[in-house]
Subunit: 302 residues, 2 copies
């Protein structure tokens, strides 16, 4: 039994490779890293890694996290610049008993000391996006301009269950802004006994509900991955509406130790990729229902 | 009905003042800020604010968080230098829809822009601690060398419920290290309907169990504050033991919307302060039992 689930259409190509690794017996952590590093390295995917979206000051500042559901250990970096593959830094931090979450310059020093590749993560296209934005005043910040955080959950043949996230965060964010992606329980959580979950969207909203931990907690209490995603999302959205807010922009995925998966969203359409013994499928939550995406629909998806 | 609970013996004097404010009808947030700023300003309390414990490179890097249980909004700063009262920065960030969690230089810029007082947070004593430590090689890092994170939970007459935390983090931590204190769900959580919780100890352990969110989640499901603290702590410690680890160094406090409180710890003794209509009491969890501390015992407490 193995399975992998990842956010957004952009994850499809790399999930195919990661699924192939799992099929050959690779560990869940290797599959997560394979899927995420490919996306980080692709300059055309402008919400993650190289070519990411700059902050208000024109710097591409990256967040990433990695959690091993068997040891319950995590590693994360936040607001870090110039680390070619943030997910590799997060994974290396995951084994540590102390100092497993590092911000800013400390995260960069760690990556350099560990010999991880460094690079200028800002592309010509990143800078163009930024210059356009600063020409427009009072621009309202929002996620989902193109796509968003890549979150990957993988289960391997040995019962290993791993969660990984990587993002450049909200476009035009304030310097030092940290979203949900590197925050355990909010952007990701994994417990090999009960399941794993991760979230993408506006981090400032997701963290208020600790959505990833809540989903795993519901799975611990007997909910399926799909039930847990829906219940956690519905509860939190109800609360937001009671507070006079709108539903916001949030999407979640979950993976159970039996390989079943779930997803929920406040968007009209939330695409994600699933890989398992039957192959790799591009799916979407549309009007609250999970369906496989047809060839014709692919181009229209975010 | 009003109540306040705070970690460690060091919180006793400032909780007396904060309790007085609540008695006079102040908002929970004002009580939390009163209790924490006094501790931040005291150079003799070397785990929080001015005179805090330096990181490996000799810098006093501060974490703080603030959460409003009525709006479910939070604000936090992490790995920030030179902000005289980190809790004030966290509280100011709490109202923001975007960019409410800031790391490093971004947090410092925010504080400066907001006109918050800045100062060199390193005292002669901080530097002496640091010089001694770097002379000793392979020193094992541990929390509780003296005291630790100050966490304050307050309930006001209008049902307001607020959580606040402030710390200089693990002594001799790696540059950029972030503990549980500024991480929502791990170091703190507050939901005015169900309760608030906060944690102190080794952040790298606390965050793996999202202990504060778990405690509030248990209260949501009907547990009392004390039951929730014990159940969350016992479950997580059992899991750590199954993983071949020791129980670790973790302590938690909780406050229910009816003013009842709870506490649990993996230490032999964990002192905390409680204020309510009956006055302010120094209490402790000893061998799993919460008791009021006698005059003779006070001097022996951490």
């Amino acid at each position: 039994m193995h399975a992998i689930i990842a956010t957004w259409k952009m994850s499809y190509p790399s999930v195919c490779d990661a699924q192939h690794l799992l099929q050959e017996g690779a560990a869940a952590g290797d599959a997560v890293v394979e899927a995420i590093t490919q996306i980080e390295d692709d300059p055309t995917l402008n919400s993650v890694g190289y070519g990411g979206l700059p902050d208000r000051d024109g710097h591409v500042m990256l967040d990433a996290a990695y959690m091993d559901g068997q040891t319950l250990r995590c590693g994360a970096i936040m607001s870090a610049e110039g680390i070619r593959n943030p997910i590799l830094a997060a994974r290396k931090l995951c084994g540590r008993e102390s100092n497993c979450v590092l911000a800013g310059r400390g995260a960069e020093l760690f990556a350099i000391e560990e010999g991880l590749p460094m690079r200028d993560m800002c592309t010509h296209a990143s800078m163009q996006h930024w210059r356009e934005a600063i020409r427009m005043e009072h621009r309202k910040l929002s996620a989902y301009r193109d796509h968003d955080t890549v979150c990957v959950l993988a289960l391997d043949e040995d019962g290993g269950l791993v969660a990984g996230t990587s993002t450049s965060g909200l476009f035009m964010k304030a310097p030092g802004r940290v979203g949900d992606s590197p925050l355990i329980g909010s952007g990701y959580y994994a417990d090999a006994r009960y399941g794993a979950a991760a979230a993408t969207g506006v981090g400032e909203e997701i963290m208020r509900g600790c959505l990833s931990y809540e989903i795993v907690s519901l799975m611990k209490r007997g909910a399926s991955a799909q039930q847990a995603c829906e219940e956690a999302m519905n509860d939190f959205v109800s609360r937001k509406l009671e507070l006079g807010e709108d539903a916001g922009s949030m999407s979640v995925i979950a993976l159970a130790p039996d390989g079943t998966f779930g997803a929920a969203t406040t968007l009209d359409v939330f695409p994600f990729t699933v890989g398992n013994e039957s192959g790799v499928h591009l799916c979407a939550v549309k009007n609250g229902v999970v369906t496989e995406v047809t060839e014709e629909e692919v181009a229209k998806l975010p």
